[in-house]
């Protein structure tokens, strides 16, 4: 089952990112995971939050360009070689990764990998078959 990620377009200018995070903070939205892809002109902020619908409406009502995207979260044991093993599974199925980011979980010994692929269902199926838990 895929999870929903919030993606926001942020201009690469001083204070712009702070404006977005302040909107989230003022509305009591908790960030679970975050990544930024940046270029000279703009950045793309991707977050997993506790309340996706609320985050979406707060940001869009305040004029931020935002969309939700379905991504998959893969649970990994936090030890060397685990991410590599997960990616090898996708490679074996010829599933292309558009982007990914990873973070250490609050649960000790666990790490999470957030993946964006063209076909979530196929990716999950392959990962689950290889023994990975996904969310």
């Amino acid at each position: 089952m895929a999870i929903r990620q919030i993606t926001a377009f942020v201009e690469n200018q001083q204070g712009k990112l702070a404006e977005v995070t302040k909107l989230l903070a003022d509305n009591g939205i908790d960030l679970r995971a975050l990544s930024i892809a940046d270029t000279k002109d703009f950045g793309i902020l991707r977050v997993i939050v506790n309340d996706t619908d609320k985050a979406y409406s707060v940001l869009s009502q305040n004029g931020v360009i935002v969309k939700t995207t379905e991504v998959i979260a893969v649970e990994l044991n936090d030890r060397p070689g685990e991410m590599s093993r997960a990616l090898a599974v996708l490679d074996g199925e010829e599933i292309n990764i558009e982007y990914l980011y990873a973070f250490i979980s609050a649960t000790p010994g666990r790490a999470d990998l957030v993946l964006r692929v063209a076909d979530n269902a196929a990716a999950e199926k392959a990962l689950n078959a290889a023994g990975f838990k996904t969310a």
Binding site: T7, F9, A37, F42, I44, S60, G63, I65
Partner: protein, 436 residues
């Protein structure tokens, strides 16, 4: 003896005789237009003016003006004054589809135009011994064909290089010992830098003069180009509507451009009221062709702001001189020699599904013009990847390039980040210093 004029009798004709010649030609030209261009005949009829009312040069003030919008309205054939079968050529400005201005030429018109360019080449010291390197664009743009034809008339060896490919330009320039360079002033400056980068000193080339037009440039730029190429740099003026470059050109004095008065009658008007201003006043330049067959234009508003002077010129030419254009009375930009209206960019944005909230920034970096277009991204267009957004920028840049012929850099920005204004929106920021 060194040739000083291409057509001495005409170029040095006493002013009183020029005026008589203009008067005769004007009457004939007005009759030609009235009889063959229904669009202009209707404009004259609406003002109650008949060709026979034009008895002297001053009577031209009775005639209605034409502007670019008239030419667009009558696209493609509405201003044609001869049967299409008598035309041998077209040239065109850049423009949105269906909104281009097309100028038609009979062989007579081509000859007239090329003669004007030949005068410009001889005025900067050109003879049949010279090697003229033309690196204006060839094709619909008038720059290349105009100077190419002028150079043929003079009898010079013509190098029809067209624009771009600087390595090849430099190779031909050095190997074939080019003596006169014709291009935009920014490209001349770029060639100067490129020569330096390759280790050439200004005295290493064979150039003696350059004829640089199609975009505004300053005296400061002139000094830089003259120093970097080791030449004298001269200005040339013209617009597609009036045939192309060569309507006016600089002589050895480098102090204003002589207007070819036997072919064009010049007025300076107040752009607000249309009132004709006395010689020496700053105003909008208006041209009337005097002996064109296919595409004669009466009182055509150029939107260029300049000053005319009849002060005696040391070169011996008697034709009236115009200053370098000091600005525009409309919002047209000249970028890398191409005429660009902000409205053209706006049309592309709308066609591509963007809102008309944009900002255009023009600058000159290393002597080359840059065009940056900032456009607001709409929420529904947003894809969540960097490659998605940059692909949209690239697609929009290509669409703009298709229309303008020059490559912009497109920046998608957040909604409402482009300043709104109550009155006339400031959509264009020109950071170049083009006027002294």
């Amino acid at each position: 003896m060194k040739q000083r004029y291409y057509q001495e009798e005409i170029e040095t004709m006493p002013v009183s005789e020029i005026k008589k010649l203009q008067e005769r030609k004007l009457q004939k030209q007005i009759r030609h237009v009235y009889e063959h261009v229904p669009y202009y005949r209707a404009l004259m009829d609406a003002k109650g003016v008949k060709p026979e009312d034009i008895k002297c040069l001053e009577d031209i003030r009775k005639l209605p003006f034409l502007s670019k919008s008239d030419l667009r309205e009558t696209y493609p054939y509405g201003m044609l004054a001869v049967p299409l079968a008598d035309c041998v050529r077209i040239q065109s400005t850049s423009g949105t589809t269906g909104k281009r201005v097309i100028a038609y030429y009979t062989q007579h018109d081509v000859d007239l135009w090329e003669e004007c360019c030949a005068r410009a080449i001889v005025a900067v010291g050109g003879t049949k011994e010279d090697v003229v390197q033309v690196c204006y664009g060839y094709g619909l743009f008038t720059g290349g064909p105009g100077l190419n034809g002028g150079s043929h008339k003079v009898g010079s060896l013509t190098l029809p290089m067209s624009s771009g490919n600087t390595d090849r330009q430099i190779q031909f320039m050095m190997d074939l010992k080019a003596t006169i360079l014709c291009c935009t002033p920014s490209y001349a400056a770029y060639i100067g830098e490129s020569l330096k980068d390759r280790g050439y000193k200004p005295e290493d080339n064979f150039l003696k003069a350059g004829i640089f037009g199609a975009e505004p440039w300053t005296e400061e730029m002139r000094r830089d180009i003259q120093a970097s190429l080791g030449i004298k740099a001269y200005d040339i003026y013209g617009l597609t509507e009036t045939s192309g470059p060569g309507v006016a050109f600089e002589c050895s004095e480098q102090h204003g451009m002589h207007i070819n008065e036997d072919h064009f009658y010049a007025e300076v008007i107040d752009p607000e009221t249309g009132e004709v201003l006395p010689e020496g006043s700053k105003g909008e330049l208006v041209f009337t062709s005097l002996d064109k067959e296919a595409f004669p234009l009466i009182r055509y508003r150029t939107r260029d702001i300049c000053v005319l002077t009849r002060e005696k010129c040391a070169c011996g030419r008697t034709h009236i001189r115009m200053s370098k254009p000091m600005g525009r009375s409309d919002d047209m930009l000249i970028i890398r020699g191409v005429n660009v209206f902000p409205s053209q960019i706006e049309t592309v944005l709308l066609n591509e599904g963007y809102a008309p909230n944009y900002r255009i920034e023009v600058d000159r970096v290393n002597n080359s013009d840059t065009l940056d277009v900032f456009v607001e991204l709409l929420p529904e267009q947003f894809s969540d990847t960097v490659s998605g957004v940059t692909a949209m920028e690239k697609k929009l840049a290509n669409a703009i390039k298709t229309i303008l012929g020059i490559n912009p850099t497109v920046h998608l920005v957040a909604p409402r980040s482009i300043e709104r204004s109550e009155g006339k929106a400031v959509r264009v920021i020109d950071k170049r210093k083009l006027h002294d």
